[in-house]
Symmetry: D2
């Protein structure tokens, strides 16, 4: 059997090592290139000790990888760095799965606004498909450049989208209180991830302005705009892509006076309204648990029960290999090390609010696992190939 030749560009980070962890046992691909500019010539296992005697690839430079006839490359690079390499590999006609934030947003302007960087490859942005197979399977399969979702967005978008499509969520009512393990902050030592600052500790960070906020809003807005439910009769007007002030961002420069009322009105014309997103740092390695609050739309007010919500999610995801709608709230260890998304939905009659709880492994479904899921689609392989596993619990 012919195997596809894969390259991993950027091997020293966690997304790089996690790609190797899965791909080395993939029956239809071989890893032909693993690159690192800072450690060229060393072994991959010199960087990641757990691979010693298991995967001792020699690290090459990205420049050398560009000269190989690879079938697909993963870019496991920091945002800002990734876009340049994406262009180079695409110009060599090598399909790219990018794990950075460089191609996730709707326009170069929005990118610049939230990432504080000029986008040097807007054509890439234009052509990139959002790498969330459950919502975008067909486009991924035919894409040359796939942009893998952020970890927080993955855990937020999957539970919310089916409900937004059904029109059961009131505009402006979504609050995502997310808690992440430290690997989300990367492999590089920093004060933030110093053991003594994390162990037996817990904190909120990035209040109000985490970059994943805009990614969540844009993708949820798309979902809401594709409402299919009979519950909703609201006409949908998509905000214009590329306009930074679209969606709710106008508020940044808005005056306070009367703001609340104006907003409440604005949301009525089909937008989901601004999403409140608050990340927290857990003393765990992997995993994001998102507790999501939302209020019922007027159309749905009378129908709300736990069963109603569970049914919508179950129906939406019944055939999905990696999504599980549960009877009880999931814990992080229920998905640790796997590509699974576990979702629990409930409705609190007393407060008139939905509560959704989702759990993903940020390094698998939140990045490298989902990236391989996309790769499988792009290469015409069964989507779940080499991604089946059970959580490491305990």
């Amino acid at each position: 059997m012919k195997k596809f030749k894969i390259g991993i560009i950027g091997a020293t980070g966690y997304t790089g090592s996690e790609l190797v962890r899965w791909l080395q046992y993939h029956p239809a691909v071989t890893i032909n290139a693993i690159t690192s500019e800072s450690r060229t010539g060393e072994l991959f296992s010199d960087v990641h000790s757990s691979f010693a005697g298991v995967a001792d690839f020699k690290l090459i430079s990205a420049a050398d990888a560009l000269e190989m006839s690879l079938d697909l490359v993963f870019l496991a690079l920091p945002h800002g760095v990734s876009m340049g390499f994406a262009r180079q590999f695409l110009e060599k006609n090598i399909p790219v799965v990018d794990l950075s934030g460089d191609f996730r947003l709707s326009s170069a302007a929005v990118y610049t606004h939230w990432y504080n960087k000029t986008h040097t490859y807007p054509e890439g942005l234009e052509m990139a498909e959002y790498g969330m197979p459950e919502l975008n399977r067909v486009h991924i399969a035919g894409a040359r450049l796939v942009s893998c979702p952020g970890c927080y967005p993955t855990g937020s978008i999957l539970p919310l989208t089916p409900l937004l499509k059904k029109g059961v969520i009131r505009s402006g009512s979504i609050i995502i209180d997310a808690k992440s393990g430290t690997t989300g902050a990367g492999v590089k030592a920093s004060e933030t991830t110093h053991f003594s600052n994390v162990n037996d500790n817990f904190r909120a960070y990035g209040l109000k302005n985490h970059r994943h906020t805009v990614e969540i809003e844009e993708k949820l807005q798309e979902a809401a705009s594709r409402q299919t439910s009979e519950l909703s009769s609201t006409a949908v007007h998509m905000p214009e892509a590329g306009n930074v002030d679209a969606l709710s961002h106008r508020a940044h420069t808005g005056t306070n006076k009367g703001q609340a009322d104006n907003k409440r009105d604005n949301y009525q014309n089909g937008t989901i309204g601004p999403v409140q997103f608050t990340p927290h740092l857990l003393p765990v390695d992997r995993g994001i648990l998102s507790t999501i609050y939302a209020e019922p739309s007027e159309a749905a007010a009378g129908s709300m029960t736990r069963t109603f919500l569970t049914d919508i999610l179950t129906e939406a995801y019944v055939s999905e290999p990696f999504i599980r709608i549960g009877k009880t709230p999931p814990s992080l260890k229920d998905i640790r090390g796997t590509n699974l998304v576990r979702i629990y939905a409930d409705f609190d009659e007393r407060t008139n609010r939905m509560i959704l709880v989702s759990a993903i492994d940020n390094l698998v479904k939140g990045s490298s696992g989902q990236a391989i899921q996309c790769m499988n689609l792009m290469l015409g392989l069964p989507e779940a190939t080499a991604l089946q596993s059970t959580a490491l619990y305990p």
Copy 2:
């Protein structure tokens, strides 16, 4: 100097050991009795190894403690058990500081509803003062029976009360997403607190129906009813105490149809509306971090900024020995082992929501420390006596 003679009824749990940790260095009291029914005759340090050679008290029975002429007793007992002992010590004319949930709620009926138990000492309920010195100092000083707040309520009520008194929070908009260390679940081994189920893990629990919900709602409602701010002109109608269906609990049996709208209207007459409270279990020993979301009331809509909120809190608590209003969100280690409450307040213009973050040590300010604060008041001692300490960080 004459020292007060103190008894600790129930010494095998964490509130018991934490009381000893602080009281043994208190300059104005002596610990004259520590009781345990199951381990009578053993040493306190046989139960709590960290006290070996430090506090080797002999454990006696509660019956023996009742015969001693004590100046005050702490009840560090499970709810349900505590009320009987409270009655006995009070009948002996010994003032009681109770750390259980038995005397926290407004009526025996509410107690039975949430604790699923008959209250056998409703006179105690009637006379008990809520042991939160910052909000109830004068009454505590003169009380015979003080009921110490729950750990979650402490972390929620203190940040919210000054804002509710000023009338700046919209009814029904309060969401408390709280994360607690495992000591809140007590000293007894259980599946919930089994190391392998907690370590490197995280989960939500008690969605919709945790007992602390009603305690939070009742106390916040009291605060709201004492609005002093010129911002609010709404007449305040306190729901009738003792009526289970008061506040928002009616919803339990309400129909769904049109529920949202009715609620929104109901909240206008001075009630705070139902509070959404979701606890989570952190892989840490101590500490509760509460992330609290709320929307501005109409009256306050135009004034909202981070400074506005910080000023209200600072003004309210400027003289408090144990409350700190911070410039950045606190972490649990910033208060670990102390009686401090750290609060951060922010306002998100984009979403039109307040975000409050509070951190307390559930075993200190959330129980035993606050109990000693009450004891100091009851005994006429300076309130902060023996409670000064800096967090154990790292």
Copy 3:
């Protein structure tokens, strides 16, 4: 392809869940029975939440499993309970892989001495093969009853055996300072594994008398008795199996006077001498790291270097699929979740001591993984089938 029908007797513990974690993806077997007496009729995933929607087997009773025509069963039961079931399945002609301690020791008398229990199936003891494939491959392949090694013994025996076979270790000089994660203590909640007693904590336990001591001594003695090295010319006299006082256990009742000298002499006639074994409890889920000290035998005194030791180990294990001899000391995460054994050997000229460091995952190579390795041998399958994986790091 015909698949082998496998039963797992005792599914509520960690060895049970770990067997399922691996076996569900095994290409040549199917899991036909999972039993639990206490939770018969429930789903396996009701007991182990991480299997929800992944492996929802219905739990049956062991009695029902006995009536099925299974090709092999694993006994994932407590010691004492296991021996009875072993007899029953063997009488039905079903091969057994036992994960308890019931069949590990050399005789019923030794068993009774260390496990404080009468052995009810001594014929089983007689026929059981020790399930450590690297040292006993051929016998396992032909066995009807395989007794899987204890977790601590696995991490100690594998690094020491090649050195003992070469005769390079001085009698009586072996000290094993082992540190284990909490899953070694099992799934049942207890004070020992209560989160607050383990988290941010560390302790020694079982000093001098842990049951694994005798297992380690017996198996190391066997290895030493098979010395193949030209380095050693000492005649080997195996202590008589079944005699509790054999090996070094005589000391239990010996007098102290002159004891040290006597011992030092005794060791010369080919026994390894008593092994010092001290376990500790780590605040981690999985993994045993053993730091082993030993002095060179007289014969080896002149040859000792790090290279000398590394070469012996490398030579012994060069073809082993699951053993890695490293250039640096391993950490637990380098093997977390895998069937690997990582070993580092060093020699300290200054102190004239060998230092060996080994790392295993107690639930995989230390129990269920090694058990499956044995199953593969017994069923004539490639030994490493379905056991390849890379550590979950981070």
Copy 4:
């Protein structure tokens, strides 16, 4: 009451913050200077968030502190940096308590050998007193420069010294297997202390050559040389200080041939022989648990029991405010956050070995607490002033 004016030179590390944690509540001193060169002008609480609103000292430069009339300074600086400042403060006639490794060893030559640095202040080395009050109380009280012990040495020297003084330990038989929390590695973020590399993990490091080895050996040798016991009649010949090859270090360049035998002989003339010291990194913040193995000397061989050892230790330390000899092995949480040393001693008849287990908090008794104990002595204050506390457990 007149208070002593104290300076803390170097405030950004953990020893600095820990000094403030204790000194701010000390009744007889005031903190008059806290210095940092990198963050001069900022608040101490900007660096250490847990002090916000608790100890908001302004950071000054060391140069400014030199101009103040301080009664004593602590140097909480890295080794190599400390010696220069020690000289400067001593020249200003200000007594110094140094927490670095700069003044712990016996000579500049030994220092250079193990710290790979030239010692620029050998006069300091000469005059420095080793700051372990239990063994050196009188000299500390009269010292101008006190050198605080390393954290590992503190946990090793205190349990071993009384036994060495009694002559009950065989030369060359001491093995210290020590396990430390991460704060020992300091406040600075590094790969070693990156959360994902420590959490749920464990490893050995510094095998054979950790700097604390020589400190332990030198101090233990001193203890052995002051043997007071009637058990020992061996003449004691102290190795010459300042000679790097003294003690056992000769072995570094020795040939292997016959080495073991030579060593065994050498130890007989009163030296303790080389000490095996192996540190490990625990996934905990604070604490060092040392498991120490040693063999009885010939003189003591007949006397060894647990009681015999416990009695020696109890007798030696019965009046010590911070040492506790326990009935069971201590855990790290039994001393977390305190200045206590907990020691357990046992004897294994079967193997003829002593096992000692000690537990200290590396940041308190292992550094800042012990430093304050020294300060109290130097200032003529009761030694335990402001250092009483009970462990933070849980």
